[in-house]
């Protein structure tokens, strides 16, 4: 079904090199792939293989050393509100309440909004992530899961076409992680965003992805795998035996692709 969607992001022969201690090393090597509109694309690979770099390039926070990234056919020239980034660490402003944090994006807009408009709009997204009860709290008073939800609401509120998520659920306990998987899937299905999601958790990748891009230790693409598992994949569906078998089989497939990549023992794949 993904085949009929138009291309939204096009990564073309992208290479990114860094200089570290005078030595040049490749974070990414000749990577090419496309992200379709309303696709949920997951990028997996060992730690330090350039997953986050790739996300930063799409976000426009950094630029490729060679190759181009096209967004709707136009080269990415810098960050923009059409691409919301959810970083691995929490990017909440500690002096603002949860509500005021979510309102931040509105304050950068050219057309001013009234205080009531801002609050109503922010509340909509806080309710969407299930944080409507804690809007007056400050980030320092929130648990890890609540901070995640708050960051998510903050980014969703700017109505990005694309959500770029970098290890967004890494630090969460398994129960909170499961809830966040349901939330993000629900939001993606209703808001029709396009999501590029970086993780090193294979279970997570298989639960969420339409397609999985596997990066190897050299920073190039090992394979792009289509995930044929039917949705919904979370909650009661996952308890179906046939589904469960297919889930494990596909996870094996992804795992085997990664295993081909040398130096398995140092991989951070679980």
């Amino acid at each position: 079904m993904t085949t009929e969607r138009p291309v939204l992001i096009s990564v073309r022969q992208v290479t990114k090199t860094y200089k570290k201690n005078g030595r040049e090393f490749h974070a990414l090597r000749d990577c090419s792939f496309e992200v379709m509109k309303n696709e949920f694309l997951v990028i997996v690979g060992p730690t330090g293989c350039g997953k986050s770099t790739l996300l930063n390039l799409i976000a426009g926070l950094d630029f490729p050393s060679a190759g181009t990234i096209l967004l709707n056919g136009e080269p990415v020239s810098g960050p923009g509100a059409d691409r919301g980034v959810i970083f691995q660490e929490y990017a909440l402003l500690p002096w603002r309440s949860v509500l005021k944090n979510v309102e931040l994006g509105f304050e950068f807009r050219k057309s001013p909004m009234s205080r009531n408009e801002k609050e109503a709009e922010a509340m909509k997204y806080l309710d969407m992530v299930g944080l409507g009860y804690a809007v007056k709290k400050h980030p320092g008073e929130l648990s890890g899961g609540m901070k995640r939800r708050a960051s998510l609401a903050m980014i969703l509120a700017i109505k990005p076409v694309i959500l770029l998520m970098d290890g967004a659920f890494n630090a969460l306990d398994s129960k909170t992680k499961m809830t966040m998987h349901q939330e993000i899937t629900r939001i993606w299905e209703t808001e029709k965003n396009t999501i590029v999601f970086v993780t090193s958790d294979l279970d997570e990748a298989v639960k969420l992805a339409d397609r999985i891009v596997v990066l190897n230790r050299e920073g190039s693409i090992e394979a792009v795998l289509r995930n044929e598992l039917p949705r919904p994949r979370l909650g009661s569906a996952s308890r179906d035996l046939d589904f469960h078998h297919r889930f494990i089989a596909f996870r094996e497939t992804v795992m085997n692709v990664i295993k081909k990549d040398a130096g398995l023992r140092t991989c951070a794949i679980s």
């Binding site: 976000a59 426009g60 926070l61 810098g78 960050p79 923009g80 509100a81 691409r83 919301g84 980034v85 970083f87 660490e89 990017a91 402003l93 500690p94 002096w95 931040l104 994006g105 304050e107 950068f108 807009r109 400050h138 320092g140 980014i155 700017i158």
Partner: protein, 251 residues
């Protein structure tokens, strides 16, 4: 309960200090002729007298006015400079040596120059107070603006913020705790520099009054003025600590 015990120890410290001081005076440790006038008892009596006849207010108000004026002008100049220095690396490099060099010079060294330019009087005093207050304000503000998490800046950028928006919504609010620390230091040094600065030929103020009591041989009033300077300084610092407590965010 613990709080009451904590508080009483603060008060106890003050009482013990007064007792030691009084004993030293009674033992005539400050010289046979002056020990009487230098005792805390004499100072407190003189202080009450000065409060009653309005002399204290007459001299404290001009002093406070000068300090507040110098501080306000320093804040207006120092905060924008501090933010720019902290946020733009090139501005920091341009100003680093000059600022570090300037802040090590006692403003009293500028006294003759201040008098040549501004003449004897209020303007010179306020200028010196301004000059001493700007350095802690600039350096602390720039420190605060400089350690803003790049994560916050990147997030603001991905939300479509421009430089101005990032400064207003991220960098400046993030630097507030450091600005307040700078203000506290600035108030401290201003109040210290006030006394010698007011010996510069102004007709009132606590610094002037120190010289005046000396010339009139009213050593009890001199001690009372010293007490008043310490107390007002303590109150100013307390007000600052309250500001820091009230407006500082914690991570």
């Amino acid at each position: 309960m613990a709080l009451v015990a904590d508080r009483s120890f603060y008060v106890l410290g003050v009482i013990l200090f007064m007792i030691v001081w009084q004993i030293a005076a009674s033992l005539r440790l400050f010289g046979a002729d002056f020990s009487e006038a230098f005792s805390p008892l004499a100072a407190i009596l003189a202080l009450i007298e000065m409060i009653k006849n309005g002399e204290l207010i007459h001299h404290a108000l001009p002093s406070l006015r000068r300090v507040l004026l110098g501080l306000s002008l320093a804040v207006v100049v120092a905060l924008p400079i501090g933010v720019l220095v902290g946020y733009f690396k090139r501005v920091e490099q341009l100003t680093y040596v000059v600022f570090q060099f300037m802040r090590m010079i006692s403003p009293l060294a500028w006294m003759p120059i201040a008098i040549i330019i501004f003449g004897v009087g209020d303007v010179s005093v306020v200028f010196l107070l301004w000059l001493v207050a700007i350095w802690p304000l600039i350096l602390n503000t720039s420190h605060g603006a400089g350690r803003v998490s790049p994560l916050w800046v990147n997030m603001a950028k991905t939300m479509g913020a421009m430089d101005m928006g990032i400064l207003r919504k991220v960098v400046i609010p993030a630097a507030v705790p450091d600005m307040l620390t700078g203000l506290r230091l600035a108030v401290g040094v201003s109040w210290i520099i006030l006394v010698p600065a007011e010996m510069l030929g102004v007709p009132d103020g606590l610094g002037y009054f120190i010289l005046d009591t000396r010339d009139r041989f009213r050593y009890d009033q001199l001690m009372a003025t010293i007490m008043a300077i310490g107390m007002i300084g303590y109150l100013l610092d307390s007000a600052n600590r309250w500001l820091i407590h009230k407006f500082s965010w914690k991570n």
